[in-house]
């Protein structure tokens, strides 16, 4: 039982921090978990891409991937440390799905050809991926897939609709389609990857309640994909993707965002006066801030436990779900408290002459609810904890 990092890990964390301190101006960071979801104009997008290039040069786009696929072959812990620090800075240049979906899926199930093509390109910053798991009728019930894939010699013809993909302007996406027309539920599904430029594929943004085009609606209308785009065995797609889904639930990026949000609230409470006194002098506020720090620290430990299990090769059963639920509840508590403390000023959007740096709190508040749904709703996670963790009867 040990709760410190090795000298090498501390050094790496500092290296990442130094890079970020040099390259990312504080003004870049908005409020939400992933700043790339809050990109508002071409200039911001150009900056995002410039950071991606720099990260690619350092080999930091695939830290724990094997070297032959463009990664650095570093530990899972190093990957986690990197993502934690990146997300503290709003994570420009990183498409989380590259790390948490593309990587794990191809590394576990991809052919050599697939790995060499796609992982290398992702590591060089040439492609951005998302996963498109959900459909209009397949949310928590993820196997209720109606997208079809009919084989036509060397191609599959895909028809269907995907919803709630994370809209970074993306190049490729992973999805499930039913390759066995007589199958139902989790049987007869296959995993595919598709280039978004494939004829028949159209993407429409879904605007979230913060006003950002953060999510995507994807329509596949007789889109023809080469059969090489299938990952893993035909009709075994659910087994293939379960591995990926278990990774997604980790959502490690939440830790950086959590720390950033707490720092923002504390800074606001230190710098803002009410009745001549800084807000932090108010015991009610002071204790709320302490409680948030306590919850964030406990959350941190539970996330790191998941990382350690992965590093040790210990099978994760319910531990990821457990960390995610606490992470989501802690973030909810944090953004709610942050808005409360800001009172009337919490309403101001960035750009108003009356808005301060604290306008980011509102962005955090409005973009946060999605994360208790994406990657596994709280209710599904609690089912998993009860069934798999506590072995309760179904």
């Amino acid at each position: 039982m040990e709760f410190g990092f090795s000298e090498q890990e501390e050094k790496f964390r500092q290296e990442v921090r130094d890079f970020l301190n040099k390259e990312i101006p504080p003004s870049w960071v908005k409020g939400g978990m992933f700043t790339q979801g809050e990109i508002e104009n071409e200039e911001e997008w150009a900056f995002w891409k410039s950071i991606q290039r720099k990260l690619a040069e350092k080999g930091w786009l695939g830290i724990h991937w094997p070297k032959e696929y463009g990664g650095l072959g570093r530990s899972y812990m190093d990957q986690f440390i990197f993502m934690e620090e990146m997300s503290y800075r709003g994570g420009p240049g990183i498409a989380p799905a590259n790390i948490w979906h593309l990587g794990p899926t191809l590394l576990a199930w991809g052919t050599e050809e697939q790995k060499k093509t796609h992982l290398l390109r992702a590591a060089r910053g040439e492609t951005l991926w998302i996963d498109a798991m959900a459909e209009p009728d397949a949310g928590s019930d993820g196997v209720n897939i109606s997208t079809t894939a009919l084989q036509d010699r060397d191609y599959y013809i895909i028809n269907g609709r995907k919803r709630w993909g994370c809209l970074v302007p993306f190049d490729w996406f992973l999805f499930l389609a039913r390759t066995d027309p007589d199958s139902t539920r989790h049987r007869g599904l296959s995993v595919f990857m598709a280039d978004v430029k494939t004829p028949g594929i159209t993407v429409k943004p879904i605007i979230d309640l913060a006003g950002y085009a953060y999510w995507a609606d994807i329509t596949l209308d007789n889109a023809r994909l080469p059969k090489e785009n299938m990952i893993g065995p035909k009709n075994e797609g659910w087994t293939v993707i379960l591995n990926t889904l278990n990774n997604e639930r980790i959502f490690v990026d939440i830790l950086g965002g959590m720390r950033r949000t707490l720092d923002l609230i504390i800074r606001f409470a230190k710098e803002t006066k009410r009745n001549g006194e800084p807000l932090v002098k108010n015991p009610a506020i002071r204790h709320q801030l302490a409680q948030l720090a306590i919850e964030a620290e406990v959350t941190r430990l539970l996330y790191y436990r998941v990382v350690w299990f992965r590093e040790q090769g210990i099978t994760l059963i319910h531990e990821t779900s457990l960390a995610k639920v606490l992470g989501n509840e802690t973030m909810k508590h944090m953004v709610t408290t942050g808005m409360e403390i800001m009172g009337l000023h919490g309403q101001l959007k960035a750009g108003s002459k009356w808005a301060s740096f604290a306008a980011k709190m509102q962005q955090a508040y409005l973009t946060n609810p999605a994360w208790a749904i994406a990657g596994g709703t709280t209710e599904i996670e609690k089912n998993i904890i009860a069934w798999m963790g506590l072995k309760m009867p179904r």
Binding site: R286, H287, A293, L302, Y304, W308, F309, K382, M392, P393
Partner: protein, 377 residues
């Protein structure tokens, strides 16, 4: 980062669990609530023979030189069965301060006897004002030749009714900074002028009022330095709060187990009540909180073992575990339905002790204050 225990630590836990399952039934716990002493000297003797009282002490005093984290493993198992007795007061609240701050003479006089189970110690710290900070110390110790005369009242002192010695924090000089001017004395509990009364408390756990009326102690009984005793108390409190957390996480896990097991047996509407989603989700909530409580506790214990700064982590742990044990006991009792609020069912034993543990060595408010200080606010 490492979230696993060593093989040796797992063995310690298994051995402790097996022993305590056999030796400390809930009937014993109930019996001790009514018992005058509040603990079983027979069981205390067995525990001494197992080497548990000496676990964190160096071999030269008869101990086994294990870490504070190792001790926390033992404490977790004790908390699981609600072991009645002055283990934490003796070993953690008094033994460890004597080890870290005592003279060689004091260590040789007291530690081997503690290890052998021959001496029971307790910490007379809190007073009627109910505070754990330096300002709460109003008891005084006035110099008189080579002695000091102690006057004051201590309240909520655990097992003072059976203690052989008390560590007593008293004010030896008035300073502007209330943290200075406090001295810790090692006091023979049978000295004239000491009057102990057992309080009737929610957990029936032998907390006592201890009145010091012109109690004369030699200056050789000072632990560490004159006027500088608060440092010793701060460290003792961090260790004690973490120890309390260990007891609590043991109890909380047991409550969840009881609840889940009950949910599988209890049939209503033709099915086990544990198959209903709300029931499952409430148990999932409990597991989430308990897992967090465990690692927050282990982190504090690890930092104390490594002698790293631990004030923040100990307070994070105590604040969180305070909240968790309370909720787990309340929810666990509720999920048992009617029997959950009966005297007969064991869950009430945990619920009452959760309340006691919550306020011992700092309630949530107290620790949130420390966390805020550590955050620089």
């Amino acid at each position: 980062m490492n979230f696993g225990f060593t093989e040796e630590q797992e063995k310690l836990r298994t051995a402790a669990r097996d022993f305590l399952e056999k030796e400390c039934s809930s009937s014993l716990v109930r019996e001790m609530e009514e018992d005058e002493k509040g603990y079983s000297p027979e069981l205390w003797h067995k525990i001494a023979e197992l080497g548990w009282l000496g676990l964190p002490f160096p071999q030269k005093y008869g101990g086994s030189s294990k870490t504070f984290l190792d001790l926390v493993i033992l404490l977790e198992e004790m908390g699981r069965v609600l072991l009645p007795g002055p283990f934490v007061p003796t070993v953690v609240c008094c033994g460890l301060p004597i080890l870290s701050a005592g003279t060689e003479e004091q260590k040789e006089e007291f530690l081997p006897k503690i290890v052998k189970g021959e001496l029971i110690f307790t910490l007379a710290l809190t007073e009627p004002n109910g505070r754990y900070d330096a300002q709460g110390i109003e008891a005084s110790a006035t110099a008189d030749g080579d002695d000091f005369i102690i006057n004051g009242t201590k309240l909520f002192t655990p097992y003072a009714n059976v203690a052989d010695y008390l560590l007593c924090a008293a004010r030896t000089s008035t300073r502007k900074n209330k943290g200075q001017g406090i001295t810790v004395f090692i006091v023979n509990a049978h000295l004239p002028g000491i009057a102990v009364t057992v309080l009737d408390t929610i957990a029936s756990d032998k907390q006592c009022e201890v009145i010091f009326n012109n109690v004369r102690v030699p200056k050789g009984s000072i632990l560490d330095k004159l006027d500088r005793g608060w440092k010793v108390m701060e460290s003792a409190q961090e260790h004690a709060a973490t120890a309390e957390c260990a007891l609590m996480i043991g109890g909380a896990q047991k409550v969840l187990e009881m609840t889940v097991n009950y949910s599988k047996e209890r049939i209503q509407y033709g099915r086990p009540i544990g198959s209903f989603q709300v029931f499952q989700h409430r148990c999932a909530d409990m597991l989430i909180e308990i897992d967090g409580a465990k690692f927050a506790t282990y982190q504090a214990a690890w930092r104390l073992s490594e002698e790293l700064p631990s004030t923040m982590q100990a307070s994070v742990a105590k604040a969180w575990v305070n909240q968790v044990y309370q909720r787990v006991c309340a929810d666990g009792a509720h999920l048992h339905g009617g029997i959950g609020f009966s005297w007969e069912h064991d869950i009430q034993l945990y619920l009452r002790r959760a309340k006691a543990a919550e306020v011992t060595f700092g309630d949530t408010d107290f620790h949130q204050d420390i966390v805020a200080q550590q955050l620089g606010i």
